[in-house]
Protein backbone atom coordinates (compact mmCIF):
# COMPACT_ATOMS: atom_id res chain seq x y z
CA UNK A 1 0.00 0.00 0.00
CA UNK A 2 2.75 2.47 1.01
CA UNK A 3 4.92 1.30 -1.89
CA UNK A 4 2.01 1.76 -4.27
CA UNK A 5 1.47 5.30 -2.92
CA UNK A 6 5.14 6.21 -3.48
CA UNK A 7 5.01 4.65 -6.94
CA UNK A 8 1.91 6.71 -7.87
CA UNK A 9 3.48 9.87 -6.43
CA UNK A 10 6.56 9.35 -8.61
CA UNK A 11 4.37 8.75 -11.69
CA UNK A 12 2.59 12.08 -11.11
CA UNK A 13 5.79 14.03 -10.52
CA UNK A 14 7.70 12.59 -13.50
CA UNK A 15 6.52 15.31 -15.89
CA UNK A 16 7.75 18.05 -13.54
CA UNK A 17 10.98 16.13 -12.88
CA UNK A 18 11.72 16.05 -16.61
CA UNK A 19 11.18 19.82 -16.66
CA UNK A 20 13.42 20.23 -13.62
CA UNK A 21 16.17 18.17 -15.27
CA UNK A 22 16.00 20.22 -18.48
CA UNK A 23 16.05 23.59 -16.70
CA UNK A 24 17.94 22.93 -13.48
CA UNK A 25 20.36 25.84 -13.87
CA UNK A 26 17.76 28.53 -14.59
CA UNK A 27 15.50 27.15 -11.84
CA UNK A 28 18.32 27.30 -9.27
CA UNK A 29 19.22 30.84 -10.31
CA UNK A 30 15.57 31.89 -9.92
CA UNK A 31 15.33 30.24 -6.50
CA UNK A 32 18.62 31.65 -5.20
CA UNK A 33 18.66 35.26 -6.41
CA UNK A 34 16.34 36.67 -3.72
CA UNK A 35 17.83 34.80 -0.70
CA UNK A 36 21.34 35.66 -1.84
CA UNK A 37 20.33 39.32 -2.05
CA UNK A 38 19.01 38.97 1.52
CA UNK A 39 22.36 37.46 2.55
CA UNK A 40 24.23 40.41 1.09
CA UNK A 41 21.90 43.13 2.34
CA UNK A 42 21.20 41.72 5.81
CA UNK A 43 24.53 40.10 6.60
CA UNK A 44 26.88 42.72 5.17
CA UNK A 45 24.75 45.83 4.69
CA UNK A 46 22.54 45.87 7.77
CA UNK A 47 24.41 43.21 9.77
CA UNK A 48 27.55 45.30 10.21
CA UNK A 49 25.51 47.84 12.22
CA UNK A 50 23.55 45.33 14.31
CA UNK A 51 24.82 43.86 17.55
CA UNK A 52 24.36 40.23 18.53
CA UNK A 53 20.80 38.95 18.46
CA UNK A 54 19.46 36.28 20.85
CA UNK A 55 23.03 35.64 21.98
CA UNK A 56 24.55 34.96 18.54
CA UNK A 57 26.08 37.17 15.84
CA UNK A 58 23.53 38.78 13.52
CA UNK A 59 24.95 36.84 10.54
CA UNK A 60 24.46 33.52 12.36
CA UNK A 61 20.97 34.66 13.39
CA UNK A 62 19.85 35.78 9.97
CA UNK A 63 21.19 32.89 7.82
CA UNK A 64 18.73 30.26 9.18
CA UNK A 65 15.99 32.88 8.83
CA UNK A 66 16.82 33.40 5.16
CA UNK A 67 16.93 29.62 4.67
CA UNK A 68 13.46 29.42 6.28
CA UNK A 69 12.01 32.14 4.07
CA UNK A 70 13.63 30.45 1.07
CA UNK A 71 11.68 27.25 1.85
CA UNK A 72 8.53 29.34 1.49
CA UNK A 73 9.37 31.43 -1.56
CA UNK A 74 11.07 28.74 -3.63
CA UNK A 75 8.42 26.09 -3.03
CA UNK A 76 5.22 28.11 -3.00
CA UNK A 77 5.49 30.27 -6.12
CA UNK A 78 6.71 27.63 -8.54
CA UNK A 79 4.12 25.06 -7.46
CA UNK A 80 1.17 27.46 -7.31
CA UNK A 81 1.97 28.87 -10.75
CA UNK A 82 2.60 25.44 -12.28
CA UNK A 83 -0.62 23.90 -10.90
CA UNK A 84 -2.64 26.93 -11.99
CA UNK A 85 -1.12 26.83 -15.49
CA UNK A 86 -1.76 23.08 -15.80
CA UNK A 87 -5.35 23.47 -14.57
CA UNK A 88 -6.47 26.59 -16.40
CA UNK A 89 -4.13 27.44 -19.26
CA UNK A 90 -2.82 24.06 -20.51
CA UNK A 91 -5.71 21.92 -19.12
CA UNK A 92 -3.11 19.18 -18.65
CA UNK A 93 -4.24 18.70 -15.06
CA UNK A 94 -7.34 17.01 -16.48
CA UNK A 95 -5.05 14.35 -17.93
CA UNK A 96 -3.78 13.60 -14.43
CA UNK A 97 -7.30 13.51 -12.98
CA UNK A 98 -8.29 11.07 -15.73
CA UNK A 99 -5.60 8.60 -14.71
CA UNK A 100 -6.16 5.78 -12.23
CA UNK A 101 -4.12 7.56 -9.55
CA UNK A 102 -5.32 8.32 -6.01
CA UNK A 103 -5.97 11.99 -5.10
CA UNK A 104 -3.31 11.78 -2.33
CA UNK A 105 -0.66 10.72 -4.85
CA UNK A 106 -1.70 13.54 -7.21
CA UNK A 107 -1.32 16.12 -4.43
CA UNK A 108 2.01 14.78 -3.13
CA UNK A 109 3.25 14.18 -6.68
CA UNK A 110 2.74 17.85 -7.50
CA UNK A 111 4.29 18.92 -4.16
CA UNK A 112 7.31 16.61 -4.56
CA UNK A 113 8.99 18.83 -7.14
CA UNK A 114 8.63 21.80 -4.79
CA UNK A 115 10.28 19.77 -2.06
CA UNK A 116 13.20 18.88 -4.34
CA UNK A 117 13.63 22.46 -5.57
CA UNK A 118 13.41 23.83 -2.03
CA UNK A 119 15.91 21.30 -0.65
CA UNK A 120 18.39 22.03 -3.44
CA UNK A 121 18.10 25.78 -2.88
CA UNK A 122 18.44 25.45 0.90
CA UNK A 123 21.47 23.15 0.53
CA UNK A 124 23.29 25.81 -1.51
CA UNK A 125 22.25 28.57 0.90
CA UNK A 126 23.52 26.53 3.87
CA UNK A 127 26.85 25.83 2.14
CA UNK A 128 27.27 29.57 1.50
CA UNK A 129 26.16 30.23 5.11
CA UNK A 130 28.82 27.85 6.42
CA UNK A 131 31.44 29.84 4.52
CA UNK A 132 30.11 33.13 5.95
CA UNK A 133 29.92 32.08 9.60
CA UNK A 134 31.15 29.23 11.77
CA UNK A 135 28.11 29.38 14.06
CA UNK A 136 25.94 26.94 12.03
CA UNK A 137 25.42 23.25 12.85
CA UNK A 138 24.23 20.86 10.15
CA UNK A 139 22.17 18.12 11.75
CA UNK A 140 19.49 15.64 10.84
CA UNK A 141 17.03 17.76 12.76
CA UNK A 142 17.90 20.76 10.57
CA UNK A 143 17.45 18.73 7.38
CA UNK A 144 14.15 17.33 8.67
CA UNK A 145 12.91 20.83 9.61
CA UNK A 146 13.81 22.19 6.17
CA UNK A 147 12.23 19.18 4.40
CA UNK A 148 9.01 19.53 6.39
CA UNK A 149 8.83 23.26 5.68
CA UNK A 150 9.45 22.71 1.97
CA UNK A 151 6.70 20.08 1.85
CA UNK A 152 4.22 22.27 3.76
CA UNK A 153 4.79 25.29 1.48
CA UNK A 154 4.64 23.10 -1.61
CA UNK A 155 1.26 21.82 -0.37
CA UNK A 156 0.22 25.45 0.15
CA UNK A 157 1.28 26.06 -3.45
CA UNK A 158 -0.88 23.14 -4.64
CA UNK A 159 -3.81 24.47 -2.62
CA UNK A 160 -3.52 28.02 -3.98
CA UNK A 161 -3.10 26.52 -7.48
CA UNK A 162 -6.39 24.66 -6.93
CA UNK A 163 -8.24 27.66 -5.51
CA UNK A 164 -7.12 30.24 -8.08
CA UNK A 165 -8.78 30.78 -11.40
CA UNK A 166 -6.30 33.26 -12.80
CA UNK A 167 -2.71 34.36 -12.40
CA UNK A 168 -4.00 37.55 -10.77
CA UNK A 169 -5.27 35.54 -7.78
CA UNK A 170 -1.87 33.88 -7.26
CA UNK A 171 -0.11 37.25 -7.56
CA UNK A 172 -2.54 38.78 -5.07
CA UNK A 173 -2.05 35.91 -2.62
CA UNK A 174 1.71 36.29 -2.98
CA UNK A 175 1.54 40.04 -2.32
CA UNK A 176 -0.95 39.93 0.53
CA UNK A 177 0.09 36.74 2.39
CA UNK A 178 3.48 35.43 1.23
CA UNK A 179 5.48 38.69 1.02
CA UNK A 180 4.50 39.91 4.54
CA UNK A 181 5.20 36.40 5.88
CA UNK A 182 8.75 36.44 4.55
CA UNK A 183 9.59 39.60 6.52
CA UNK A 184 7.41 39.40 9.64
CA UNK A 185 7.74 35.77 10.75
CA UNK A 186 11.04 36.15 12.61
CA UNK A 187 13.24 35.54 9.59
CA UNK A 188 15.46 38.62 9.79
CA UNK A 189 14.51 39.95 13.23
CA UNK A 190 12.83 38.50 16.31
CA UNK A 191 9.05 38.33 16.45
CA UNK A 192 9.18 39.88 19.95
CA UNK A 193 10.37 43.17 18.44
CA UNK A 194 7.05 43.56 16.60
CA UNK A 195 4.04 45.41 18.12
CA UNK A 196 1.88 43.06 20.25
CA UNK A 197 -1.00 42.99 17.76
CA UNK A 198 1.31 41.95 14.94
CA UNK A 199 2.90 39.31 17.17
CA UNK A 200 -0.54 37.66 17.49
CA UNK A 201 -1.05 37.92 13.74
CA UNK A 202 2.27 36.28 12.84
CA UNK A 203 1.68 33.52 15.41
CA UNK A 204 -1.13 32.35 13.07
CA UNK A 205 1.33 31.95 10.19
CA UNK A 206 3.33 28.74 9.59
CA UNK A 207 6.60 30.46 8.66
CA UNK A 208 6.97 31.72 12.25
CA UNK A 209 7.19 28.11 13.44
CA UNK A 210 9.33 26.94 10.51
CA UNK A 211 11.82 29.71 11.30
CA UNK A 212 11.91 28.71 14.97
CA UNK A 213 12.63 25.06 14.08
CA UNK A 214 15.25 25.82 11.42
CA UNK A 215 17.01 28.47 13.52
CA UNK A 216 17.02 26.35 16.69
CA UNK A 217 18.44 23.30 14.91
CA UNK A 218 20.97 25.34 12.90
CA UNK A 219 22.28 27.19 15.94
CA UNK A 220 22.22 24.19 18.27
CA UNK A 221 19.52 25.67 20.54
CA UNK A 222 17.00 23.48 22.36
CA UNK A 223 14.62 22.24 19.66
CA UNK A 224 11.01 23.58 19.74
CA UNK A 225 9.15 20.31 19.17
CA UNK A 226 5.79 22.03 19.52
CA UNK A 227 6.67 24.41 16.67
CA UNK A 228 7.50 21.40 14.48
CA UNK A 229 4.10 19.90 15.33
CA UNK A 230 2.38 23.19 14.43
CA UNK A 231 4.18 23.24 11.04
CA UNK A 232 3.07 19.63 10.46
CA UNK A 233 -0.53 20.53 11.41
CA UNK A 234 -0.52 23.32 8.82
CA UNK A 235 0.72 20.75 6.28
CA UNK A 236 -2.04 18.29 7.18
CA UNK A 237 -4.64 21.06 6.91
CA UNK A 238 -3.40 22.14 3.46
CA UNK A 239 -3.36 18.51 2.31
CA UNK A 240 -6.88 17.79 3.59
CA UNK A 241 -8.36 20.82 1.83
CA UNK A 242 -6.57 19.81 -1.41
CA UNK A 243 -7.83 16.23 -0.98
CA UNK A 244 -11.41 17.41 -0.43
CA UNK A 245 -11.32 19.63 -3.52
CA UNK A 246 -9.74 16.99 -5.74
CA UNK A 247 -11.86 14.05 -4.65
CA UNK A 248 -15.10 16.08 -4.92
CA UNK A 249 -14.20 17.46 -8.34
CA UNK A 250 -14.16 21.02 -7.02
CA UNK A 251 -11.08 22.21 -8.88
Amino acid sequence: MILSFFDETFRVSLQDLYYLKRNILSILVTILVTPLLYYVSFCYGLGSNVNDMEGVSYIAFVIPGVVALSTLTSCFSSIANKVLAQRIYYTSFDEIILCPISPSAVIFGKALVGLIKGMLGCAILLIIGLIMTDGLHISLLLIASIALSCMVYSLLGVLVGFLSNSLTTVIMFTSVIIAPMTFLCGTVFTVSSLPVGLQYAVSALPLTYSTECIRASALGWSFPVLSLVVVAVFGVAFFLICYYMLSRGKI
Binding site: Y18, Y19, Y90, T91, E95, I96, L98, C99, P100, I101
Partner: protein, 308 residues
Protein backbone atom coordinates in the same frame (compact mmCIF):
# COMPACT_ATOMS: atom_id res chain seq x y z
CA UNK B 1 -1.05 -2.52 -34.49
CA UNK B 2 -2.21 0.05 -31.98
CA UNK B 3 -4.81 -2.05 -30.30
CA UNK B 4 -3.52 -5.32 -28.99
CA UNK B 5 -4.90 -8.36 -30.77
CA UNK B 6 -7.93 -6.68 -32.32
CA UNK B 7 -6.95 -6.09 -35.91
CA UNK B 8 -10.06 -7.37 -37.65
CA UNK B 9 -12.35 -4.64 -38.95
CA UNK B 10 -15.61 -4.77 -37.09
CA UNK B 11 -18.61 -3.87 -39.24
CA UNK B 12 -20.81 -1.41 -37.43
CA UNK B 13 -23.98 -3.39 -38.10
CA UNK B 14 -22.68 -6.42 -36.17
CA UNK B 15 -21.81 -4.47 -33.06
CA UNK B 16 -24.79 -3.53 -31.02
CA UNK B 17 -23.61 -3.56 -27.45
CA UNK B 18 -23.80 -0.13 -25.86
CA UNK B 19 -20.52 0.99 -24.34
CA UNK B 20 -21.71 4.46 -23.39
CA UNK B 21 -25.18 4.99 -22.09
CA UNK B 22 -26.24 8.35 -20.73
CA UNK B 23 -29.80 9.16 -19.85
CA UNK B 24 -31.18 12.64 -19.47
CA UNK B 25 -27.93 14.35 -18.57
CA UNK B 26 -28.41 17.86 -17.26
CA UNK B 27 -25.49 20.17 -16.55
CA UNK B 28 -26.16 23.58 -15.06
CA UNK B 29 -23.64 26.33 -14.38
CA UNK B 30 -25.63 28.55 -12.05
CA UNK B 31 -28.78 29.50 -13.92
CA UNK B 32 -27.29 28.59 -17.30
CA UNK B 33 -28.31 25.14 -18.57
CA UNK B 34 -25.36 23.93 -20.69
CA UNK B 35 -26.72 20.42 -21.30
CA UNK B 36 -30.46 19.86 -21.19
CA UNK B 37 -31.71 16.26 -20.77
CA UNK B 38 -29.37 14.77 -23.37
CA UNK B 39 -29.30 11.02 -24.06
CA UNK B 40 -26.20 9.33 -25.47
CA UNK B 41 -26.04 5.69 -26.60
CA UNK B 42 -22.79 4.66 -28.21
CA UNK B 43 -22.39 1.14 -29.55
CA UNK B 44 -19.16 -0.84 -29.27
CA UNK B 45 -16.93 -0.37 -32.27
CA UNK B 46 -18.70 2.59 -33.82
CA UNK B 47 -17.58 6.14 -34.52
CA UNK B 48 -20.16 8.36 -32.88
CA UNK B 49 -20.13 12.03 -33.63
CA UNK B 50 -21.50 14.93 -31.66
CA UNK B 51 -22.15 17.75 -34.05
CA UNK B 52 -23.19 21.20 -32.96
CA UNK B 53 -22.50 24.89 -33.28
CA UNK B 54 -20.18 26.68 -30.86
CA UNK B 55 -21.62 26.70 -27.36
CA UNK B 56 -24.05 23.84 -28.06
CA UNK B 57 -22.81 21.81 -25.07
CA UNK B 58 -20.52 19.34 -26.88
CA UNK B 59 -17.46 19.83 -24.70
CA UNK B 60 -19.55 19.87 -21.52
CA UNK B 61 -21.13 16.54 -22.51
CA UNK B 62 -17.79 14.96 -23.36
CA UNK B 63 -16.41 16.11 -19.99
CA UNK B 64 -19.32 14.38 -18.26
CA UNK B 65 -18.77 11.16 -20.23
CA UNK B 66 -15.03 11.19 -19.44
CA UNK B 67 -15.74 11.60 -15.68
CA UNK B 68 -14.21 15.08 -15.55
CA UNK B 69 -17.46 16.86 -14.75
CA UNK B 70 -20.24 15.77 -12.40
CA UNK B 71 -23.61 16.23 -14.12
CA UNK B 72 -26.30 18.12 -12.22
CA UNK B 73 -28.57 15.14 -12.88
CA UNK B 74 -28.81 12.07 -15.11
CA UNK B 75 -27.34 8.58 -15.18
CA UNK B 76 -24.19 7.70 -17.07
CA UNK B 77 -22.55 4.31 -17.54
CA UNK B 78 -19.38 3.67 -19.53
CA UNK B 79 -18.65 0.05 -20.42
CA UNK B 80 -21.10 -0.98 -17.71
CA UNK B 81 -19.48 1.14 -14.97
CA UNK B 82 -21.39 3.95 -13.33
CA UNK B 83 -20.31 7.58 -13.08
CA UNK B 84 -19.29 8.80 -10.50
CA UNK B 85 -19.09 5.73 -8.22
CA UNK B 86 -16.87 3.72 -10.60
CA UNK B 87 -14.88 6.55 -12.16
CA UNK B 88 -11.54 4.87 -11.48
CA UNK B 89 -12.53 1.76 -13.49
CA UNK B 90 -13.85 3.92 -16.32
CA UNK B 91 -10.64 5.95 -16.47
CA UNK B 92 -8.60 2.81 -17.08
CA UNK B 93 -10.46 2.08 -20.32
CA UNK B 94 -10.85 5.50 -21.89
CA UNK B 95 -8.50 7.86 -23.67
CA UNK B 96 -9.31 11.55 -24.05
CA UNK B 97 -7.81 14.09 -26.41
CA UNK B 98 -9.01 17.51 -25.41
CA UNK B 99 -9.89 20.38 -27.73
CA UNK B 100 -7.12 22.48 -26.21
CA UNK B 101 -3.97 20.39 -26.58
CA UNK B 102 -3.08 19.50 -23.02
CA UNK B 103 0.58 18.58 -23.32
CA UNK B 104 3.44 19.89 -21.25
CA UNK B 105 4.85 22.32 -23.80
CA UNK B 106 8.26 22.61 -22.11
CA UNK B 107 9.31 18.96 -22.34
CA UNK B 108 9.89 16.73 -25.36
CA UNK B 109 7.38 14.68 -27.34
CA UNK B 110 9.03 11.50 -26.05
CA UNK B 111 8.89 12.66 -22.43
CA UNK B 112 5.23 13.62 -22.77
CA UNK B 113 4.31 10.20 -24.15
CA UNK B 114 6.36 8.36 -21.51
CA UNK B 115 4.79 10.44 -18.71
CA UNK B 116 1.32 9.50 -19.93
CA UNK B 117 2.34 5.85 -19.91
CA UNK B 118 3.44 6.20 -16.30
CA UNK B 119 0.29 8.12 -15.35
CA UNK B 120 -1.89 5.45 -16.95
CA UNK B 121 0.02 2.79 -15.01
CA UNK B 122 1.31 1.00 -18.08
CA UNK B 123 3.84 -1.58 -16.79
CA UNK B 124 7.27 0.09 -16.70
CA UNK B 125 8.85 -2.56 -18.94
CA UNK B 126 6.25 -1.91 -21.67
CA UNK B 127 6.37 1.90 -21.68
CA UNK B 128 9.41 2.31 -23.95
CA UNK B 129 8.20 -0.32 -26.43
CA UNK B 130 4.69 1.11 -26.62
CA UNK B 131 6.03 4.64 -26.98
CA UNK B 132 8.26 3.59 -29.89
CA UNK B 133 5.51 1.60 -31.62
CA UNK B 134 2.83 4.26 -31.31
CA UNK B 135 5.27 7.00 -32.40
CA UNK B 136 6.23 4.95 -35.44
CA UNK B 137 2.61 4.36 -36.45
CA UNK B 138 1.75 8.04 -36.08
CA UNK B 139 4.92 9.18 -37.84
CA UNK B 140 6.17 10.91 -34.72
CA UNK B 141 9.56 9.15 -34.54
CA UNK B 142 11.58 12.00 -36.12
CA UNK B 143 10.08 14.47 -33.67
CA UNK B 144 10.52 12.50 -30.43
CA UNK B 145 13.26 14.75 -29.07
CA UNK B 146 11.58 18.03 -30.08
CA UNK B 147 10.09 20.10 -27.27
CA UNK B 148 6.35 20.27 -27.86
CA UNK B 149 6.36 24.04 -28.16
CA UNK B 150 8.38 23.73 -31.40
CA UNK B 151 5.80 21.48 -33.15
CA UNK B 152 3.07 22.59 -35.55
CA UNK B 153 -0.59 22.16 -34.56
CA UNK B 154 -1.01 18.87 -36.43
CA UNK B 155 2.00 17.24 -34.77
CA UNK B 156 0.95 18.52 -31.37
CA UNK B 157 -2.45 16.92 -31.94
CA UNK B 158 -0.79 13.66 -32.98
CA UNK B 159 1.38 13.76 -29.87
CA UNK B 160 -1.75 14.22 -27.75
CA UNK B 161 -3.33 11.23 -29.50
CA UNK B 162 -0.17 9.16 -28.94
CA UNK B 163 -0.39 10.01 -25.23
CA UNK B 164 -4.05 9.00 -25.11
CA UNK B 165 -3.24 5.65 -26.77
CA UNK B 166 -0.46 4.61 -24.40
CA UNK B 167 -2.75 2.45 -22.25
CA UNK B 168 -4.61 1.00 -25.24
CA UNK B 169 -8.03 2.49 -24.41
CA UNK B 170 -11.19 0.68 -25.43
CA UNK B 171 -12.96 4.00 -25.99
CA UNK B 172 -11.29 7.11 -27.37
CA UNK B 173 -12.88 10.52 -26.83
CA UNK B 174 -11.79 13.24 -29.24
CA UNK B 175 -12.98 16.77 -28.60
CA UNK B 176 -12.80 18.74 -31.86
CA UNK B 177 -9.81 16.69 -33.02
CA UNK B 178 -9.12 18.69 -36.17
CA UNK B 179 -9.95 22.18 -34.98
CA UNK B 180 -7.49 24.65 -36.44
CA UNK B 181 -5.63 22.11 -38.59
CA UNK B 182 -4.83 22.48 -42.28
CA UNK B 183 -6.46 20.20 -44.88
CA UNK B 184 -3.52 17.74 -45.07
CA UNK B 185 -3.32 17.33 -41.31
CA UNK B 186 -7.09 16.95 -41.09
CA UNK B 187 -7.13 14.12 -43.65
CA UNK B 188 -4.12 12.49 -41.99
CA UNK B 189 -5.99 12.46 -38.67
CA UNK B 190 -9.18 11.13 -40.26
CA UNK B 191 -7.23 8.20 -41.70
CA UNK B 192 -5.72 7.55 -38.30
CA UNK B 193 -9.12 7.63 -36.59
CA UNK B 194 -10.50 5.16 -39.15
CA UNK B 195 -7.52 2.84 -38.60
CA UNK B 196 -7.97 2.96 -34.84
CA UNK B 197 -11.65 2.23 -35.22
CA UNK B 198 -11.05 -0.70 -37.55
CA UNK B 199 -8.66 -2.08 -34.91
CA UNK B 200 -11.57 -2.21 -32.45
CA UNK B 201 -11.49 1.13 -30.64
CA UNK B 202 -14.83 2.83 -30.13
CA UNK B 203 -14.54 6.50 -31.03
CA UNK B 204 -16.64 9.34 -29.63
CA UNK B 205 -15.86 12.65 -31.25
CA UNK B 206 -17.26 16.13 -31.16
CA UNK B 207 -16.93 18.45 -34.09
CA UNK B 208 -18.48 21.45 -35.70
CA UNK B 209 -17.09 20.47 -39.11
CA UNK B 210 -19.93 18.87 -41.06
CA UNK B 211 -17.50 17.26 -43.52
CA UNK B 212 -15.72 15.55 -40.64
CA UNK B 213 -18.92 14.06 -39.23
CA UNK B 214 -20.08 13.02 -42.71
CA UNK B 215 -16.74 11.37 -43.56
CA UNK B 216 -16.04 9.62 -40.30
CA UNK B 217 -19.11 8.91 -38.25
CA UNK B 218 -21.35 5.86 -38.28
CA UNK B 219 -23.93 7.85 -36.35
CA UNK B 220 -24.24 11.53 -35.65
CA UNK B 221 -26.13 13.33 -32.90
CA UNK B 222 -26.84 16.98 -33.53
CA UNK B 223 -26.75 19.16 -30.47
CA UNK B 224 -28.20 22.65 -30.33
CA UNK B 225 -28.48 24.94 -27.31
CA UNK B 226 -27.83 22.04 -24.96
CA UNK B 227 -30.47 19.74 -26.47
CA UNK B 228 -30.06 16.76 -28.79
CA UNK B 229 -32.17 17.65 -31.82
CA UNK B 230 -31.37 14.71 -34.13
CA UNK B 231 -29.70 11.29 -34.16
CA UNK B 232 -28.92 8.83 -36.92
CA UNK B 233 -26.44 7.88 -39.61
CA UNK B 234 -25.60 10.77 -41.99
CA UNK B 235 -27.76 9.06 -44.64
CA UNK B 236 -30.71 8.56 -42.28
CA UNK B 237 -30.56 12.18 -41.22
CA UNK B 238 -30.53 13.36 -44.83
CA UNK B 239 -33.47 11.08 -45.67
CA UNK B 240 -35.39 12.48 -42.72
CA UNK B 241 -35.59 16.01 -44.18
CA UNK B 242 -35.75 14.80 -47.80
CA UNK B 243 -33.07 13.26 -50.01
CA UNK B 244 -33.15 16.07 -52.58
CA UNK B 245 -32.54 19.73 -51.94
CA UNK B 246 -33.54 22.66 -54.10
CA UNK B 247 -31.84 25.94 -53.35
CA UNK B 248 -32.83 29.20 -54.93
CA UNK B 249 -32.60 32.94 -54.45
CA UNK B 250 -35.27 34.45 -52.24
CA UNK B 251 -35.87 38.10 -51.43
CA UNK B 252 -32.83 40.33 -51.02
CA UNK B 253 -30.45 37.61 -52.40
CA UNK B 254 -30.95 35.35 -49.39
CA UNK B 255 -30.67 31.67 -50.42
CA UNK B 256 -33.78 29.59 -49.72
CA UNK B 257 -33.94 25.79 -49.44
CA UNK B 258 -36.67 23.19 -49.94
CA UNK B 259 -36.30 19.46 -49.46
CA UNK B 260 -38.06 16.65 -51.27
CA UNK B 261 -38.20 12.89 -50.70
CA UNK B 262 -39.19 12.32 -54.30
CA UNK B 263 -36.99 13.25 -57.28
CA UNK B 264 -39.96 14.03 -59.54
CA UNK B 265 -41.49 16.40 -56.98
CA UNK B 266 -38.15 18.19 -56.72
CA UNK B 267 -37.92 18.52 -60.51
CA UNK B 268 -41.49 19.87 -60.71
CA UNK B 269 -40.59 22.51 -58.14
CA UNK B 270 -37.47 23.48 -60.08
CA UNK B 271 -39.56 23.79 -63.26
CA UNK B 272 -41.64 26.55 -61.64
CA UNK B 273 -38.57 28.83 -61.82
CA UNK B 274 -38.33 28.56 -65.62
CA UNK B 275 -34.78 29.08 -66.92
CA UNK B 276 -33.44 30.82 -63.82
CA UNK B 277 -29.71 30.16 -63.22
CA UNK B 278 -30.04 30.66 -59.51
CA UNK B 279 -31.90 27.38 -58.92
CA UNK B 280 -29.91 24.31 -57.98
CA UNK B 281 -31.20 20.77 -57.54
CA UNK B 282 -28.83 18.48 -55.64
CA UNK B 283 -28.62 15.72 -53.03
CA UNK B 284 -29.27 16.74 -49.44
CA UNK B 285 -26.11 16.89 -47.37
CA UNK B 286 -25.49 16.68 -43.64
CA UNK B 287 -24.87 20.41 -43.73
CA UNK B 288 -28.49 20.91 -44.84
CA UNK B 289 -29.67 18.73 -41.97
CA UNK B 290 -27.43 20.59 -39.53
CA UNK B 291 -28.68 24.00 -40.62
CA UNK B 292 -32.31 22.87 -40.64
CA UNK B 293 -31.94 21.51 -37.10
CA UNK B 294 -29.90 24.32 -35.62
CA UNK B 295 -31.43 27.19 -37.57
CA UNK B 296 -30.12 29.48 -40.29
CA UNK B 297 -29.35 32.84 -38.82
CA UNK B 298 -29.63 35.39 -41.59
CA UNK B 299 -29.32 39.15 -41.51
CA UNK B 300 -31.53 40.13 -44.39
CA UNK B 301 -30.60 43.79 -44.12
CA UNK B 302 -26.87 43.11 -43.97
CA UNK B 303 -25.85 45.77 -46.46
CA UNK B 304 -28.06 48.37 -44.82
CA UNK B 305 -26.50 47.52 -41.47
CA UNK B 306 -22.95 47.78 -42.80
CA UNK B 307 -23.48 50.94 -44.87
CA UNK B 308 -25.10 53.21 -42.33
Amino acid sequence: MLSSGENTPAPYQQLCEEVIRAEKIVVKFGENVAVDHVDVNVKRGEIYGFLGPNGAGKTTTIRVLTTLLHPTSGDVTVNGFKIPSENKKIRRMIGFVQQMISLDKDISVKENIICHGYLQKVPKKDIQIRMERISAVLGLTPFLNYTVIKLSGGWKRKTAIACALMHDPKILFLDEPTAGLDTQSRHMLWDMIRQLNSAGTTIFLTTHYIEEAENLCDRVAILNKGKRVALGSPKELCDKIGRFAVEYDGDNHVRKYRYFSDWDDAKKFVATFGDSDSVLLRRTTLEDVFLEMTGREVTTDFVKVVRI
